[in-house]
Symmetry: C2
Subunit: 250 residues, 2 copies
């Protein structure tokens, strides 16, 4: 069944009318006709089978056939903080990390950041659209939260004093002699315990940043023996962390 992304404010029950954008998507991309069913999610765990009652290029009226709550996936407790690389390379990091299933992405500004200015609201908006589209693409019911940009130190502070009860295990991707593998750094952690992965800019973290991260309780992790671009490092770190969580859960 085809999936669609339906923002929370667009839901109604037992019957409701979709906005023009969704109607167009249903007609043009999914070639939907009355009687067709599809799966809608609000990006926060709500999922419903909807059936098309009537549809034209501007309006689509649907009814809720069945609705359910989907439990969060293994990656819901994973925060990925990344110093955004140039151009559209951050788009790749966000799309892939969201497909893999991380729960939260934080754009971080580090000392060697190539992009010196924090992303503006248009860029954040774009990343949020990518996150929601990756959710649909990868058949998930939760969209990763794309947070407001933070400085390196603000992120460390947030990680040390989280809103929840347990501070996450903070992993800093940095090729130090004592760096652990992601699997080793997460060994023995319960599957749902929070994790934060911090990925630096192209030039890496400064010694000073590494020291501050260590003081904040970070473990240094290696993502392999090759030098990875920032967006590649983000995707690799997400994949390895999720694999470690799955191992912990099994």
């Amino acid at each position: 069944m085809d999936r669609i992304d339906l923002l929370p404010e667009l839901w109604g029950a037992p019957e409701f009318t979709l906005d023009r954008e969704h109607a167009r998507h249903l007609v043009k991309s999914l070639r939907a006709r009355p009687g067709d069913r599809f799966l809608a999610t609000d990006g926060a765990g709500r999922e419903a089978t909807l059936e098309v009652i009537s549809i034209d290029a501007r309006d689509a009226r649907v009814r809720v056939v069945e609705e359910r709550r989907v439990p969060p996936g293994a990656g819901a407790s994973v925060t990925l903080a990344v110093a955004p690389p140039k151009g559209d390379r951050m788009d790749v990091a966000i799309e892939k990390a969201c497909e893999i299933g991380v729960g939260r992405i934080v754009p971080v500004t580090a000392a060697r950041s190539v992009v010196r200015t924090a992303p503006d609201s248009a860029r954040l908006e774009r990343w949020r659209r990518i996150a929601r589209s990756a959710m649909v693409q990868s058949a998930q019911s939760y969209a990763a939260r794309i947070e407001e940009p933070a400085s390196f130190d603000a992120f460390l502070t947030e990680v040390r004093a989280p809103a929840g009860d347990a501070p996450p295990r903070l992993l800093l991707a940095h090729p130090a002699p004592d760096a652990l593998s992601v699997g080793a750094a997460l060994a023995g952690r319960p599957a749902s315990s929070p994790i934060a992965l911090l990925i630096g800019p192209e030039g890496g973290f400064t010694d000073d940043e590494v020291d501050r991260a260590r003081l904040a309780g970070a473990a240094l992790v290696s993502l392999g023996s090759t030098r990875l671009r920032t967006e590649t490092a983000a995707v690799v770190a997400a994949a390895l962390a999720l694999e470690a969580l799955r191992r912990a859960a099994s």
Copy 2:
């Protein structure tokens, strides 16, 4: 020290003249001047420190300061076979898998391939350029080999009767109930033993292909609980396989 990619046929010793393309790269991108040194690799494990003797926009004369052989990395024994996705998404798979360090990439045509025609020579040439550029970018001395396209069955046959002595461990990315994690499928393997990862098209492998792969000795592996795009699956599989090999080596 900046790195450059120097195809085997361009090498000379103890002094030689670079072709126009490299001279331009040195002048424009690296702003090289006489006396500057950089690291050159031929993509097959040969690495040298070169010093610029003279340079202008058209010619660069260099001398070999020191030359060495670099041993192959952990990923040299990893073959990644991928059913190419549409548009430039295969470029992403190749760039990222090469950064991570796989040794060989084979474009494979499967029953549900979205791209029905095998990639033409221009596309292969483009992928080979991406592989060499990713090698330089990721500070490696070996470029992944981008092989000629193969059908699904031809690839299975090649894997069963390899040119070397030991057939590789074949992992088919497929969400079957008995699918293993990549780590579990590779547990206990020696670090340098060959591995082949087979990643299907967007619609997945057919039951028939899965059966044929099983007969060829493939283990089915899961890359997580989310549905990954082909290029994301390729990158995730490469990252998990390399991590498993590093674990075996340590």
